[in-house]
């Protein structure tokens, strides 16, 4: 009886810890994807604004606008 309860507790702990591990792993992957996408989008916007930035002779600083970029959501 004692052994059975002990075995069940181990499985339960394992289940809880596995859920935690999966969430952590998913969060890590999501962060990685988010950073990656952000960099790709930034590079794309940068390339797209090259002509206007190079043509400007008034000294306007044309930088990539990141205000509309998606926020990080690890549970997505």
């Amino acid at each position: 009886m004692y052994n059975l309860r002990s075995k069940g507790q181990g499985s339960l702990e394992m289940l809880v810890s596995l859920i935690g591990l999966v969430i952590l792993l998913l969060g890590t992957v999501n962060i990685f994807i988010w950073i990656n996408q952000r960099m790709v989008t930034r590079q794309k916007d940068y390339e797209n604004s090259r002509i206007s930035a190079g043509s400007d002779t008034t000294g306007n600083e044309i930088q990539v606008d990141e205000s509309a970029y998606p926020e990080l959501d690890v549970f997505k």
């Binding site: 004692y2 969060g27 950073i35 930034r42 590079q43 930035a53 400007d56 008034t58």
Partner: protein, 409 residues
């Protein structure tokens, strides 16, 4: 046995959990640093592009070259910390843009000199000139420097012309200007006008029989675009330049490396002092003042010298690659004040966790006083402190970060 298996699961969770959290931390810090680097490189280039467009007078096509050094202190959060307090790491980039319709043209006035701007955490410092103009007087052109017998000698103009060349057609009298061209680059040396006559010649006019005096060796006044007369430059480059000026063999080696013609002959010539024969700067002639008062290096090695003016300018800077401008060394002071208040009464428990976290980084921008033409002025230093903290208000001031929770019975 049962106690062992209970502890095993907890231990496994603790070990693998901490490894995973560490992995998460590494990934976040790497990702943020990499992303910040990309962003700052793009920003630096666009800033240089914009500055180059407005640096010239009405963007008239004058040669304008602008360097932008951008540095930001990035907060890398630590996922294992409840407030995500982590480390602060500097990320930097530099971009140079030359906007010019005539790329082969050289700077002719102060506005056209190459410049450097330094941007620290959004605040701009400069522009600092990366080169300057230096005037020298009475530099001889390709004429006599060896007393070929024309001074106070009666010769006819035809005889003068014949004697100017040897049998192989080479000039017998070559001036010192060639050495300036070799060391500074011909494009950076501009003859601004005639100086004084350095050697006079007296001829007898065969028609009138009267003596006529003409100038055989005319001094020229020159303007040099000198990268060591600006506000920002490197120690190593300046020492190398001085060695070329004061040491014939060092000059010859550099010249041969650049496949120059008649390197030994060119380098043997004397520039305005300081030069290979005198170390005293003469303000009436206007030599390379930053090489003045040099003496052989105490270690006795060939072609090694100490240049006191440069030592004064760079003396207190550290590191092997000493250079003016934004210094690589910095002081970082990190302060954390974490206050946990907990009240427990008959209703429940309430807790408030307040964090004041701030990292101040102090850096130096060191540059030369551009008005100094003697090398005696100490370097100018601007100390800049940048600030990173947990949270800032709209005015950019650091504010406390608070977390509160409570439980009612």
């Amino acid at each position: 046995m049962g106690n062992y298996s209970k502890g095993q699961a907890i231990l496994e969770l603790a070990i693998f959990g901490s490894i995973l959290i560490m992995l998460l931390g590494v990934l976040i810090s790497y990702g943020i640093a990499y992303s910040s680097r990309q962003k700052i490189m793009q920003e630096a280039f666009r800033k240089a592009l914009a500055s180059a467009a407005v640096s010239g007078p009405n963007y008239s096509g004058t040669p304008i070259s602008v360097s932008h050094s951008l540095l930001k202190d990035i907060h890398i959060p630590n996922p294992s910390d409840p407030f995500a307090v982590g480390s602060v790491t500097p990320v930097s980039a530099r971009a140079t843009v030359t906007r010019n319709y005539a790329l082969d043209a050289n700077a002719e006035n102060d506005n056209e000199l190459p410049q450097m701007r330094i941007n620290l955490q959004g605040y701009e410092y400069g522009p600092f000139k990366a080169a300057g103009f230096r005037n020298e007087y009475n530099v001889s052109e390709n004429q006599d420097n060896s007393d070929q017998g024309f001074s106070s000698t009666v010769v006819t103009p035809d005889a003068f012309a014949d004697s100017a060349m040897d049998d192989a057609g080479n000039y017998l009298w070559e001036g010192n200007l060639d050495k300036y061209y070799e060391i500074y680059g011909a494009a950076n040396v501009l003859i601004t006008g005639d100086g004084e006559c350095m050697t006079e010649q007296t001829n007898v006019n065969p028609e009138t029989g009267q003596s006529e005096t003409s100038c055989l060796k005319m001094g020229k006044n020159i303007q040099i675009l000198d990268s060591f007369a600006g506000e920002i430059y490197d120690y190593g480059g300046a020492v190398r330049r001085c060695r070329q000026i004061v040491d014939v063999s060092a000059c010859t080696k550099e010249c041969e490396r650049g496949s120059g013609d008649d390197c030994a002959g060119t380098c043997a010539k004397e520039m305005n002092p300081p030069n290979q024969n005198t170390n005293v700067y003469d303000s009436t002639k206007g030599g390379a003042w930053y090489c003045a008062d040099y003496y052989p290096h105490p270690d006795g090695q060939v072609s090694r010298y100490v240049f006191p003016k440069l030592e004064q300018l760079f003396g207190y800077l550290t590191g092997q690659d000493k250079g003016l401008g934004l210094q690589a060394d910095y002081a970082q002071i990190s302060s954390i004040n974490n206050k946990l208040e907990r009240t427990e009464d008959t209703i429940g428990i309430n807790a408030t966790d307040t964090l004041d976290w701030e990292v101040n980084t102090t850096r130096d921008i060191v540059y030369r006083d551009k008005g100094d033409t003697s090398g005696d002025a100490p370097p100018l230093r601007q100390t800049v402190t940048t600030n990173v903290c947990a949270e800032k208000d709209g005015s950019g001031n650091c504010i406390s970060k608070t977390q509160a929770w409570g439980v009612s019975w």
